[in-house]
């Protein structure tokens, strides 16, 4: 089931084993599932869809799994759990990957990929200067071969880069990337011609939640003349935080985003939790320049920390679940507005004309 991999090709995240506080709990959980399967006479995993976990029966188990995922999946298990619970496995077509990597793709796309590969995850991972670059290039070229309508977008490099830290098989990482682009990001997020309406719409939607949940900060943003589309850097959403958060925090965010049902908009929870953690610093900014400097400066804007900080961030993000139930509707609405605006050849950036008043950002919020 699991092909053997040359040890030298493994990313350091998988070779330098760290003790994971949740490993025992995961092992116990997986063991119980295996026992239950054999009790039911389903020893052959292929019978029930395969995978480490298989179809979960009963609320109890579902809840236990949810708690385990929220607490963090051990690095060694991520490759299996991510692919299984996101159903990325279902995308796989036999030998398709092999043919994608052999396909001839537009040389301009290859140039763009080759330019970015050595500029990916470089700050944290010397692994990337060795075999990582080749792996990353292969996955991105395969992506361009499969999605010739989308092509390569800067930002996919860091998403794929982090996937490859958790998933040692290029092909598996590729299918996970495809699944993310197909289902986890809104439609057309990475399209050549969408004028970035998807990610911009998301930032505008985020502002509507800042207004509701952090009115003082929202007012401060208004006072500083920070337009809704500048609330946070566009890469927060565009790279699913891979270009933003520290590695541990990112993996924990992706655990929940990729694996738990109904959490495809979890990135909004994270964005708001980050703003909450940085609220006092942002409130101290006296000009728009200071605000943007703060956002882009990792020494100021706190986006990484020790295990305790990461736990706090995840907890805060999860606790926002109830407040963020309408993200899907709002982002669809904003994206539609922006597309219409772009379509009518107007400048993308004139939020004041577009949106009179400070409220009324979404269909469910007074039109």
């Amino acid at each position: 089931m699991i092909p053997q991999i040359d040890k030298d090709e493994l990313p350091p995240t998988l070779t330098d084993r760290r003790d994971d506080p949740h490993e025992a709990a995961w092992n116990k959980f997986l063991l119980n599932i295996t026992k239950a399967r054999s009790r039911d006479g389903k020893q052959d995993q292929a019978d029930d869809g395969g995978g480490l976990i298989g179809p979960l029966v009963g609320q109890q188990k579902l809840k236990a799994l949810g708690q385990l995922v929220m607490a963090g999946i051990p690095m060694q298990l991520r490759q299996y759990i991510w692919l299984e619970l996101s159903h990325a496995d279902s995308l796989k077509e036999p030998s398709a990957y092999e043919s994608y990597i052999r396909e001839e793709v537009d040389p301009a796309e290859i140039d763009a990929i080759v330019n970015d590969v050595p500029r990916t995850l470089t700050q944290s991972r010397s692994f990337y200067t060795n075999k990582g670059f080749e792996r990353l290039k292969e996955v991105l070229v395969a992506f361009v071969a499969k999605y010739d309508n989308l092509g390569y977008t800067q930002g996919l490099n860091s998403i794929a880069g982090y996937l490859l830290l958790a998933i040692p098989q290029n092909e598996e990482a590729f299918w996970m990337l495809c699944k993310m682009v197909d289902e986890y990001f809104p439609e057309e997020y990475f399209a050549r011609e969408n004028a970035m309406t998807g990610p911009l719409a998301d930032v505008i939607v985020l502002r509507s939640y800042v207004r509701e949940l952090m009115p003082q900060l929202a007012k401060h943003m208004d006072d500083l003349d920070i337009g809704p589309q500048h609330t946070v850097p566009v890469r927060w959403f565009f790279t699913a935080f891979s270009n933003v958060l520290g590695e541990d925090a990112l993996m924990r965010v992706w655990d929940i985003w990729l694996c738990l049902p109904g959490q495809k908009t979890f990135l909004f929870n994270v964005a708001l939790a980050l703003l909450m953690q940085n609220a006092s610093g942002l409130l101290a900014c006296e000009t728009e320049g200071e605000y943007w400097s703060y956002m882009d400066d990792k020494d100021q804007c706190k986006v990484d920390g020790d295990a305790e900080w990461v736990n706090k961030l995840i907890k805060a993000a999860v606790e926002l679940r109830k407040e963020l139930q309408k993200v899907g509707e709002r982002r669809a609405w904003e994206a539609k507005l922006l597309r219409r605006k772009v379509g009518s050849c107007e400048a993308l950036y004139s939020p004041d004309e577009m949106r009179p008043g400070s409220g009324g950002h979404a269909p469910d919020n007074g039109r």
């Binding site: 977008t153 800067q154 930002g155 566009v234 006296e286 993308l348």
Partner: protein, 206 residues
Amino acid sequence: MAASSAYTNPLKKFKLVFLGEQSVGKTSLITRFMYDSFDSTYQATIGIDFLSKTMYLDDRTVRLQLWDTAGQERFRSLIPSYIRDSSVAVVVYDITSLKSFQQCRKWVDDVRGERGQDVIIVLVGNKTDLGEKREVSVQMGEEESKKLGCLFVETSAKVGHNVKGLFKKIAQALPGMEGEGVQGAANTIDVNVNPQKPESEGGCNC
């Protein structure tokens, strides 16, 4: 933070936007200017980054606000509002890439479309340290800049060549700065070109 607002003479602010194709060295130029360092491990810019730095001139202080943009075509729709907001546009190409040079005209057109003549545009040929791979001659750069009505310099962000010269040129061209000398001060960015190593304006130090 609070101190600046306490002064009666608020900082004069100038916004600069850095434009150009993917991996021509926009971020590296900014990093060299800001921190006098070159980081070969810098990551590709996604969307727009913002940096701000105070620069001391003779008798006044200005704050430069730098917008660093992603080079890829599809991010271009994000950029017009930043151009509209900037009094200086730095259009960068890689001297080892004719293609990156040919794209500069498009960027300059974008800037003129947004700002007309009310803008300082500097054409920058970066990566002079890779002279053996040069595809764009100094002369080509100079001629193009004349045609486009821009200032012109060649730089190497990697070895630090002429980056100060670039910002000195910009500082001298800023409104209200004409003819003024530029002085460095402790803990600030010294925009003086090192007097021991005079560098020509065109960046041709060969």
